[in-house]
C-alpha cells in the first residue's frame, strides 16, 4: 500500500508472529567475504567487529597488566627496567580506557542491541557508524605509531609539564591517536541519540523504553558533551609538544593545573561513559533471570540521566591535592557525594527486583551478582575518596588504583561479561558451555578480589601508585595481588576458549533461550539482516513478565505502516482487543 494510505489509517493491523526457529537466512549469511564485512553498514556486523577489536585490545592491555604485576613481585627490579615499566603502565591505562572501556558496551554490544530493542532496521546513520569503526582503527594505528617512535611514559592522564617537555615523538602520536579516537565516540553518541529519538517502532513510548536504552541514551549525551572537550585539550597538548604554544607549560607562562581541569572535565564524565551502559545491561539481565518486572523503572531510568548531568560537575575531585581553589574543592566534594546517591538508588532497586522473583542462576545472572558485590565496594570506596580530608591521605595511592579497578573492572567489565553471555545466543545463534562459563565466573571473582583487595590495604598504608620500586613492607600485598592477576588471566583464557568453541561446535540457540520479554528476543537467532520480518508493533512493556508468553508474540504490523511511536500505541491496543 502507498505511504499516504498508511498515514490515513487510524489503526494498525497487527498479526501474530513467532520467530522462526530454523531461519534459512540471517545477517551472517546475507553477505559473505572479507570485503562485504569491511564495507557493511549493518549495525550488527559493525557491533561484532567492534567486539573483536575491543577483545583484541583487552587481551593486549590485560597481558601488559600481567607483565606489570610480575615486575612488582619483588620490591626492586624483577625482570624489566624502570623506563619499560613506566611505558607499560601508561599503555595499559591508555588502552584499557580509550580502546576498551569507552567503546566496549556502547559501540560493541550497544551497536548490536540498540536498534533491535527499538524495533529499528538499523541505526539512524549506518554509514557514520561504519566510519566510527574506521576512525577507531585509525586511532589505534596512531597509538602503535607512537610505540614505534619511542613510546610514551606519561601515564594515561598525560599531565603537563611532564608530557609537554618535548621529550619524544611518542607523546605527539598518541595524543593525536586519542584525538582521532574521540571522534569515533562522538559519532556513536550522535547516532544513538538520533536513533532513540527518531527510529523507535510503533508502540515504544518513552515509558516502554528498555532500561538498557535509557542507559545508552544517558551515555550518548555524555559522549557528545564531554568528548569534544577532551579533543581540544589533547589537541592543545599536541601543539604544546609540536610548537611550544605555552598554554599548559609553566616554563612558557602556562598553567599545568589548567590542563588538569580540562582533562578531567572529559575524563570524569568518561568514567560514566564506561559505567552507565553497564547499568543498562544489569537491568535487562536481572529482570530476565528473575522473571519479574524491574523494581522502580523510573528511578533507574532517571538516575542514569541524573548521573550523566551531575557527573559533569564533579571533575575537580581528582584535584583535591593539586592546588585548585578552596571554594572549588569544597563544591566538588559536595557534588561528588550527590552523584553517589543515584548510584546507590540503582543498587537498591536491583536488589528489590529479586524479591519474590523466580531466580535462575545462569551465567549472566551470576555476573550480575558479582557486579553488585564488587561495584558496591567500588561505590563505598568512592565515598571514602570523596571525603576531603581522607582523600588528602589516599590520593594517588594504590587505594585509588583499587577503587577504580573495582568500579571499572568489577563494574563495567562484569556488566560487559553479563551482557556478552546474555546476548551471545542472539549474536551468534550458538549456546556456550554453561559449566565452563560458571567455573570461569567464579575464578574471576576469586582472582579479582585477590588482586585488588590487598591494594586497598597497602594504599591506605601509603603505597603510592605508579611505583616501579617499593619499600619492603608492601611485599606480601604485592605478591598476593600478582597471584590474583594470574588467576584472572587463566579465567579470561577459559572464557575465550569456550566462546570460540561454541562458534564451531556449540549447541544451536533457540530464538529466545532465556524466555525474555525483550523485543530483541522476538527475532530469530541470529537475527535476520533487517532484524525483523516486518516493522514490529510493541504492545507490551519490555518487562511484562506477568503476561503469558503468547501475548508477546503478537506484535508485528502487517506492513511497515506508521512509525510515530507516541501516536499509534493506543490504537494498537484497540486492534489487539478486536483480535
Amino acid at each position: 500500500m502507498a505511504i499516504t494510505e498508511a498515514k490515513k489509517m487510524t489503526t494498525l493491523q497487527v498479526k501474530r508472529f513467532k520467530p522462526s526457529e530454523n531461519p534459512t537466512n540471517n545477517y551472517l549469511t546475507d553477505e559473505k567475504g572479507v570485503w562485504a564485512w569491511m564495507t557493511t553498514v549493518d549495525h550488527k556486523k559493525i557491533g561484532i567487529m567492534y567486539l573483536v577489536a575491543v577483545a583484541f585490545f583487552f587481551a593486549l592491555a590485560g597481558f601488559l597488566a600481567i607483565a606489570l604485576r610480575t615486575e612488582l613481585w619483588t620490591p626492586a627490579k624483577t625482570f624489566i627496567e624502570a623506563d619499560t615499566y613506566n611505558q607499560l603502565f601508561t599503555l595499559h591505562g591508555a588502552m584499557m580506557v580509550f580502546f576498551v572501556l569507552v567503546p566496549s558496551i556502547p559501540a560493541a554490544l550497544g551497536n548490536f542491541i540498540l536498534p533491535m530493542q527499538l524495533g529499528a532496521k538499523d541505526v539512524a546513520f549506518p554509514r557514520l557508524n561504519l566510519a566510527s569503526l574506521y576512525i577507531y582503527v585509525a586511532g589505534a594505528i596512531f597509538t602503535f605509531a607512537a610505540l614505534a617512535s619511542g613510546g610514551f611514559d606519561t601515564g594515561w592522564t598525560f599531565y603537563t609539564p611532564y608530557s609537554s617537555d618535548g621529550n619524544g615523538a611518542g607523546v605527539i602520536w598518541v595524543t593525536l591517536g586519542v584525538f582521532i579516537l574521540g571522534f569515533s565516540s562522538i559519532l556513536t553518541g550522535t547516532n544513538f541519540i538520533t536513533t532513540i529519538h527518531k527510529l523507535r517502532a510503533p508502540g515504544i513510548t518513552w515509558d516502554r523504553l528498555p532500561l538498557n536504552i535509557w542507559a545508552l541514551y544517558a551515555t550518548s549525551i555524555i559522549q557528545v558533551l564531554a568528548t569534544p572537550v577532551l579533543a581540544i585539550t589533547i589537541l592543545l597538548l599536541a601543539f604544546e609538544n609540536i610548537m611550544d604554544i605555552g598554554i599548559f607549560d609553566p616554563a612558557l607562562g602556562g598553567d599545568p593545573v589548567l590542563f588538569q581541569h580540562f582533562f578531567w572535565f572529559y575524563s570524569h564524565p568518561a568514567v560514566y561513559i564506561m559505567i552507565v551502559p553497564g547499568f543498562g545491561i544489569i537491568s535487562e539481565v536481572i529482570s530476565t533471570f528473575s522473571k519479574k518486572t524491574v523494581f522502580g523503572y523510573w528511578a533507574i531510568a532517571l538516575s542514569s540521566l541524573a548521573i550523566a548531568f551531575i557527573g559533569f560537575l564533579v571533575w575537580g575531585h581528582h584535584m583535591f591535592t593539586s592546588g585548585q581553589s578552596a571554594v572549588a574543592t569544597t563544591v566538588f566534594s559536595f557534588l561528588t557525594f550527590l552523584v553517589g546517591i543515584p548510584t546507590g538508588i540503582k543498587i537498591f532497586n536491583w536488589i528489590a527486583t529479586l524479591y519474590k522473583g523466580s531466580i535462575d542462576m545462569k551465567t549472566p545472572m551470576l555476573y550480575v551478582f558479582i557486579f553488585l558485590f564488587l561495584f558496591s565496594i567500588g561505590g563505598f570506596t568512592g565515598i571514602m575518596l570523596g571525603a576531603l580530608s581522607v582523600d588528602i591521605h589516599l590520593h594517588d595511592t594504590y587505594y585509588v588504583v583499587a577503587h577504580f579497578h573495582y568500579v571499572m573492572m568489577g563494574g563495567t567489565l562484569m556488566a560487559l561479561l553479563a551482557g556478552l553471555h546474555y546476548w551471545w545466543p542472539k549474536m551468534t545463534g550458538k549456546m556456550y558451555n554453561e559449566t565452563l562459563a560458571k567455573i570461569s565466573a567464579v575464578l574471576i571473582f576469586i582472582g579479582f578480589n585477590m588482586t585488588f583487595l590487598p591494594q586497598f590495604v597497602m594504599g591506605s598504608q601509603g603505597m603510592p601508585r605508579r611505583y616501579y620500586n617499593y619499600i619492603d613492607q608492601f611485599t606480601p600485598f604485592h605478591q598476593t595481588s600478582t597471584i590474583g592477576s594470574y588467576i584472572l588471566g587463566v579465567a579470561f583464557l577459559i572464557i575465550l576458549y569456550y566462546l570460540v568453541k561454541s562458534l564451531f561446535g556449540g549447541e544451536k540457540a533457540s530464538s529466545n533461550p532465556w524466555n525474555s520479554r525483550g523485543l530483541e528476543w522476538q527475532s530469530t537467532s541470529p537475527p535476520d539482516f533487517h532484524n525483523f520480518d516486518h516493522t514490529p508493533v510493541v504492545i507490551n512493556g519490555p518487562y511484562d513478565y506477568h503476561k503469558p508468553m503468547e501475548e508477546f508474540q503478537l506484535g508485528l504490523a502487517v506492513s511497515h505502516n506508521g512509525h510515530d511511536a507516541e501516536h499509534t500505541s493506543t490504537e494498537v491496543e484497540k486492534t489487539e482487543e478486536k483480535a
Binding site: 539512524a124 541519540i193 527518531k198 572537550v229 579533543a231 610548537m243 580540562f262
Partner: protein, 221 residues
Amino acid sequence: MANHSANHPAHVQHHFVDSDQQFDSAKLGMWVFLVNEILFFGGLFCAYIIFRAWYPELFTQAALELNAFWGGVNTVVLIGSSLTVAMAIRSAQRNEIKGLRINLMITILLACVFLVIKYFEYEHKLHYGIAPGSFWDPTPEKLAILDHPKANIFFSIYYMMTGIHGLHVLVGIGLMIWIYIRAGKGHFSSEYYTPVEITGLYWHLVDLIWIFLFPLLYLIE
C-alpha cells in the same frame, strides 16, 4: 524483508520508514553534532577567558596588533554568506535548482574571500615574527609594543582559535562544492534537500563562532 523497499522513493535509505523520518533524523543528528562543535570551541574559549582574567593588560595591548578593520570586513563577509546559504535552502524548498546553485556559488565565493583576507592577516603578522609557540620571534619594534612576558600565549590562543575556525571554513567550502555538484546532477528537489539543509546549519555555526571570535580577539579595549 520482502517488501521493505516497495514504497521507498530512491532517496530514502532502506532503514527509514519514510522521507519525513529520514529528514527529521538527519536534522536532529546535525543539531547534536553542532552542540558537540560548540563544546569543542568551548575549550578554547575557556582557555581564552582564563588567560584574559590573569593578564587583562596583555589582552588589551596585544589586541591592538590585530587589524580590526579587516576583521570587521570578514565579519560582514561571513554574515553575508550565512544569508546566501539560507537563500539557497529556500530555493531548494521552492524547487528552484538554479537559484540553489547560484546562491551556493555566492556562498562559496564569500567563504573564499574570508580565507584570503585571513591569509593576508596571518602573512602580515608572520612577517613581523609574531608567530605561535616556538616560532615566536618578533622584530624589535613589535617587541617594544608587545612588551609582556606572556605575549606569546595571547598569539598562541589567537592562532589556535582562528586556525581551527579557518579549518572549519575550509571544510564548509568542500561541503558546499559537493552540494553544488550534486545539485547540478539533479539530486535535489523540494521533496529531498536534506544535505542542503544540514550543510546550511553547519555554515551558520561557523558564522556564529566567528561572531564570538571577532569581538573577543580584535575589539578588546
